[in-house]
Symmetry: C2
Subunit: 211 residues, 2 copies
DNA sequence: TAGATTGTTAATCGATTAACAATC
DNA sequence: TAGATTGTTAATCGATTAACAATC
């Protein structure tokens, strides 16, 4: 279990899980690395190795792997059955979308409140969760055991806001601003829309079908 | 210019651009690979190579590189000064966020209209753009020169909707649904929130500060 | 000039892929 | 049994990093 998992590998696990849940919902009991590989356009060997690294049981030659067990193992590994508490910082359109989206709970993340500076939004509710002023953040989140901040502010204030979050003891920042952020002691995951779009555009214009 | 650019490399270009624009706005005229590398926590050699691959001019030993020229080269390379037309398919909270966000224009993407099945939304405007019924999509987009679809439907209908988009002649799908999609002749870029969150959580819980 | 930075060629590293004996 | 699938060890591949002479 303490084997090192690369970030690319980590990205694949939710894909496996999604696929396996689809199988499970169709009443399928067993599957195998080759079948999964085919469905997700990966190589058999890669799937086999990935699953070995997180599963509590061995696969069985010929029979393959138990779908329900694998789902359970993946959910455990990804921490989906243990809710982390999160805040949304920057309750613009994107922030609002997140506050109204309950689906993150399935991924082990519970959004409990939002923060903004806009007086029209501060004091209101969004997705049934309160929105506070950013100035009160440090005080407000004390004792609430909040681990993660979803950062959806304008890019111009991303850095200073991240700094504030670091001081407030946030453990991880899920950064949607497009700014490059780096803080000692805080894990930062960049969801860079511009980078993703750059890949899409480049592949469209160069007609290279593969990654 | 027809050198092969890897997807990892492609992801870095918007980061360079963002950094260079910040420099430019501060009135800084020149920079160098080592300085950029330091600012973005990359290696000097990597920055040098990346910039070589897209820039129209050589850097100058000692002096480094011209910020304004580099910005221009990057914008050209990324296609930011040539607008592609896009639609939003699935105008829920996330889709609405995109329809109200004008920032994609800076990235060469113009959202012109939305599609949904919800009668409360169909026929209305969102972010000043019309929302049509998905059933009318194939007919409606004809002749509008729409290249890209931003897919923000529920995951359950992602596959069938993607199929519809492929038939309608869409060139690229920017997939936010979390489903694995694959269609012959259509470029698909997956913006997998679950994968990103998996990386964040894993690093928080394992205290590994780096990617 | 001296030294920072360049472009380019070679070495390293890590992830993916291939090979293969073991087994239900 | 026969054959699909397994886990594991070795080979390949591609991207990152290091090395170095050239130069403003």
């Amino acid at each position: 279990m303490d084997k090192k998992i690369s970030s690319r590998q980590l990205e694949r696990y939710p894909m496996y899980l999604n696929h396996l849940i689809t199988l499970h919902n169709s009443g399928i009991i067993n599957t195998s690395a080759p079948k999964i590989a085919k469905a997700l356009d990966l190589k058999t060997e890669q799937v086999r190795k990935d699953l070995q690294d997180v599963s509590s049981d061995f696969g069985k030659p010929k029979a393959g792997r138990d779908v329900a067990l694998l789902i359970n193992d993946l959910q455990n590994f990804l921490g989906y059955n243990q809710l982390d508490r999160a805040i949304v910082v920057g309750v613009g359109h994107l922030g609002q979308a997140f506050m109204n989206f309950d689906g993150f709970k399935e991924y082990g993340l519970e959004i409990v409140e939002g923060y903004d500076v806009n007086p029209k939004i501060v004091g209101q509710k969004e997705g049934n969760k309160p929105v506070y002023h950013v100035d009160s953040l440090q005080e407000s989140i004390k004792g609430k055991d909040i681990k993660v901040a979803i950062l959806t502010t304008p890019i111009e204030v991303a850095n200073e806001t991240a700094c504030l979050l670091a001081k407030a003891g946030i453990k991880g920042i899920w950064n949607f601003t497009g700014a490059f952020l780096s803080y000692e002691g805080v894990v930062i995951e960049n969801m860079n829309l511009a980078s993703s779009l750059a890949k899409l555009s480049h592949r469209i214009n160069n007609k290279t079908s593969k990654k």
